[in-house]
Symmetry: C2
Subunit: 287 residues, 2 copies
């Protein structure tokens, strides 16, 4: 029977598939394969069929799936319902789901969001803690994993996250300290916490210091592939525990996997599977 | 014909109703009037009927309505659909709608969220800019108003927002500077920008400095009523432009209005209307 703790399930799945590949589900109607666009009458049907097809093609390589809530919300209530069915299919195949919703509210509203995440069936959620610790705790108390935004991959994140405090630390380092403290009562026998952090691969220059500040956090790492980060950038982000499956990271690729260009005689799902397999090999080379 | 600019419509509505009262729609099934809970079979039906009843009772006093997205999302896709109908009813009565969703994502994901907010029919949205300026711009470019979280009313917001930077400013003051810069190309002839800021009434000690840093921002001010803030706390937050309807603030109350206790022979809607009227008088006394 799987552990009731998110981080345990994630690490077990990472061990099972042999790498920390996270496949990001960021479906956009205009970018779907022609055959799906031709087949379905509405964007929401095509988006759902696409996500189910990506899951089918890549589940054997996936330590996790990460649906981008915005892509479904823009399709209204039918999109919200489709997101629930996509999540259910991933979990049916035994793959943990991190809902990329970047929620950040406090008190009772955060409790409502935690309920919403649970109702959708996700295992974990990305959280923005600019409002403070009380944005994070309700998710942990509801039994969900969280990944708190600490150092993000977009160029202009420096405008806030790299600002130096009088204490000498940056705003991102301050956030890292908060995450470790909040997560300390949610550490499992793996040595890792249900409270993780988002650290962009393109910001790996800050990685060694952030890993030092957060030894118990799994890092959800966007920026691989289409956003320009490579496997070698991962090294500073890895846990010093060389026995830990995945070395404490979960590396996300969205566009470079789900929209992988087809080669001769490949179906679009073949291309997705090949891209996920190639990413697996690439990550294994540095772990 | 109403202006295409959010801040113009908000200021016009504030002038029309005579005060900057914002009624927060934070419906929770367990707190609804007994008669609604008895009448409807599902939480989502009761929640929708309640919100429509609150709108009917308080629209004549409301410069804006502010639905809390979490309360609807927790009810799943039917809740999401109900939120759209609630927003449509508010707008039909001529009241601008600020979606309290605290969204905070970048690039294409932020563009998707802006689409989602437009599809729901809201005029403006609350935004978390920890990820930097690119979290904010897509909403403005989509013609929406934004209220960026700068200084929030929860006690533990100090853990991030009050931290002192080497430059001498706090993190919140840094955020304030970003908001003014981002909003500077979206200022209308009113002198105010489509980019506003969220400033908690319980943090009004910081208010004078934040107003100095953001003369062109409308402040969405939570914390009135149930959260402990009173009208006198508003003074440091007001615009120096005494001709500006509402003096550059939009003051939100949720629980103290929508769950106002009934008095003898009052219906629950009478109690809502009375609470909104009392709040109007209270705010007028300091403007």
């Amino acid at each position: 029977m799987p552990s009731s703790r998110f981080v345990d399930r994630l690490i077990q799945r990472t061990a099972d598939v042999g790498s920390p590949v996270c496949v990001g589900l960021d479906p956009v109607a205009g970018k779907l394969p022609d055959e799906l666009r031709a087949k379905f009458g509405t964007d929401v049907e095509a988006v759902e069929a696409f996500c189910l097809g990506v899951i089918e093609a890549s589940a054997e390589f996936a330590a996790a799936f990460k649906p981008q809530s915005a892509c479904f919300e823009r399709l209204g209530a039918p999109g919200f319902a489709a997101m629930g069915r996509v999540i259910a299919q991933a979990r049916k195949l035994g793959v943990p789901v991190v809902l990329d919703a970047k929620r950040g509210d406090i008190g009772i509203s955060a409790t409502h969001y935690a309920e919403a995440v649970r109702a959708l069936g996700a295992d974990a959620v990305t959280v923005n803690a600019y409002l403070g610790p009380s944005t994070v705790m309700p998710y942990l108390e509801a039994g969900l994993g969280v990944f708190v935004l600490v150092r993000t991959s977009n160029p202009d994140s420096d405008e806030v996250q790299s600002q130096k405090l009088k204490s000498g630390e940056t705003v991102a380092e301050r956030m890292a300290g908060l995450v470790r403290t909040l997560g300390s009562s949610h550490v499992t026998p793996t040595g890792m916490s249900d409270a993780g952090a988002v650290i962009g691969l393109t910001k790996s220059a800050d990685g060694a210091r952030l890993r030092e500040l957060m030894p118990e956090q799994v890092f959800l790492v966007p920026g691989y592939g289409a956003q320009g980060g490579g496997a070698s950038d991962l090294k500073p982000l890895l846990s010093s525990n060389t026995e830990l499956p995945g070395r404490g990271v979960l590396v996300n690729a969205s566009r470079s996997v789900i929209y992988a260009p087809t080669q001769a005689n490949e179906s679009w799902q073949d291309a997705v599977a090949r891209a996920a397999r190639d990413m697996t090999s690439d990550l294994k080379s540095v772990l």
